[in-house]
């Protein structure tokens, strides 16, 4: 592996792993609190899947010489994280949780689909492995988009629409390019955030419209960016403090 290949690959792996970890943690916050028992189980299960994906990605980084997955997940500072702002946002409103779930997981679905052809074989293998899991995530998301949209009430539609309007600029921030964009494409690791954004829009816009929502015109929306370069919302640091509280009591403890 050349230095150039390694740098590009690491850039991508940290973005993906941090998204999965932080999004997984946010989903786990619904454990015990979701409005229905089935939803409690769904968000908890999706959280568990995402932590599994984060672990697999941190393991790849570990095999490339980085600290072990626990250290990467729990001992880095806020500015070392490369997650997008969408996954950091706190969700006290279930409509926001569901809408983010749809926006984020359709992007994950397309990202992993593109990665099935990656020149980095372990990443291509992981992508093929998680395909079925993410199908369940988007199946869950699209079911609720319809139930609270075309099949819902005025109130449910209005709350989901407000969530969509609020989250859309953050969702576009998923695709914030980094300096490695070109290299990732040239080396066949990943075709790039630009292509991913196109695939996502082609899928998500008709899906949202058929579920009864008005989608903002993407070209007129300013994406919320910064996360891919280590600049985060004020919500990430408190999340990290809570998530790592037990680990930091004794980082060398055996579990």
């Amino acid at each position: 592996m050349t230095e150039q290949y390694r740098a590009a690959l690491e850039d991508l792996l940290f973005r993906m792993a941090d998204d999965a970890l932080i999004y997984g943690h946010r989903n786990s916050e619904w454990t015990g609190l979701a409005p229905l028992l089935e939803e409690d189980i769904a968000f908890s299960s999706i959280a568990q899947d995402k932590l599994g994906h984060a672990l697999a990605l941190y393991r790849m980084l570990h095999e490339m010489g980085h600290p072990d997955p626990d250290q990467l997940a729990f001992m880095r500072s806020e500015h070392q994280f490369r997650c997008c702002h969408l996954v950091e946002l706190p969700t006290q409103d279930y409509a926001v949780a569901l809408m983010r779930h749809a926006l984020f997981d359709y992007a994950e679905h397309h990202r992993y689909e593109l990665l099935e052809e990656s020149s980095y074989a372990p990443l291509a293998a992981l992508a093929r492995k998680v395909r079925g899991e993410i199908k369940y995530h988007i199946f869950h998301a699209s079911t609720w988009l319809r139930m609270l949209g075309v099949e819902g009430t005025d109130e449910s539609r209005a709350r989901m629409q407000a969530a969509l309007d609020m989250l859309f600029p953050y969702a576009l921030g998923i695709f914030e390019p980094t300096q490695q964009e070109e290299t990732l494409r040239e080396l066949g690791i990943f075709p790039g955030e630009g292509i991913l954004r196109e695939h996502w829009l082609e899928d998500v816009v008709p899906l949202l419209e058929s579920a009864g929502y008005r989608v903002p015109e993407p070209s007129e929306v300013e994406p919320v960016v910064g996360g891919r370069h280590g600049y985060h919302t004020e919500h990430l640091q408190p999340l990290l403090e809570e998530m790592t509280a037990v680990f930091r009591i004794d980082p060398t403890a055996e579990w």
Binding site: I41, S45, D49, G52, A56, K129, F139
Partner: protein, 164 residues
């Protein structure tokens, strides 16, 4: 004690049939189809396991149970690795595994060709009364590989080992 040169694939599979998945304890790792490869050398056995879901929390437990079970063969080195480069799907569940699931009130996963679509989750047959007048309550359940249903005819909740 047998000499290690005499260990066969069947010996190993026979022992692995006694190792069970802690989340679906009636199924062995062989019935689950998660034993994806066995390599036998004179001084070493190498077993490769493929987890059902990437985040399966039981896999480390299964791995150490497999290693412990195979240590009775007397081969100097028993290596058990977990990776997902080899494909796994619920189509790999054995016929016996499917029957055991049904006997325990679990609908076995439907078989599928090519890629599955989550819609095949709908209308699972109730393992108690056989009715397909059932309702998927949630594609997620008490473990990552389980989905929850309700049978409108016999009015029982039941689970399905969900297709993947």
């Amino acid at each position: 004690m047998e000499t290690s040169a005499m260990v066969s694939r069947e010996d190993i599979l026979g022992l692995l049939e006694q190792v069970h998945d802690p989340e679906i304890p009636m199924l062995s790792v062989v019935d689950m189809g998660i034993v994806s490869d066995i390599e036998i050398e004179p001084e070493k056995i190498h077993v490769i396991l493929t987890p059902t879901f990437v985040g399966c929390p039981a896999i480390e437990l299964i791995r150490s149970a497999v290693r412990e079970k195979l240590s009775s063969l007397g081969v100097p080195t028993v290596e058990v690795t977990v990776d997902y480069t080899r494909p796994w799907s619920t189509n790999r569940l054995s016929e016996r595994g499917r029957q055991i699931l049904a006997q325990h009130g679990f609908a076995p996963p439907p078989r599928y060709e090519g890629d599955f679509e989550p819609e095949i989750l709908l209308n699972a047959a109730c393992p108690y009364c056989g009715s397909t007048n059932t309702q998927l309550r949630t594609p997620f359940g008490p473990a990552l590989c389980r989905a929850i249903y309700y049978c409108n005819d016999c009015r029982q909740a039941f689970e399905q080992f969900k297709p993947l």
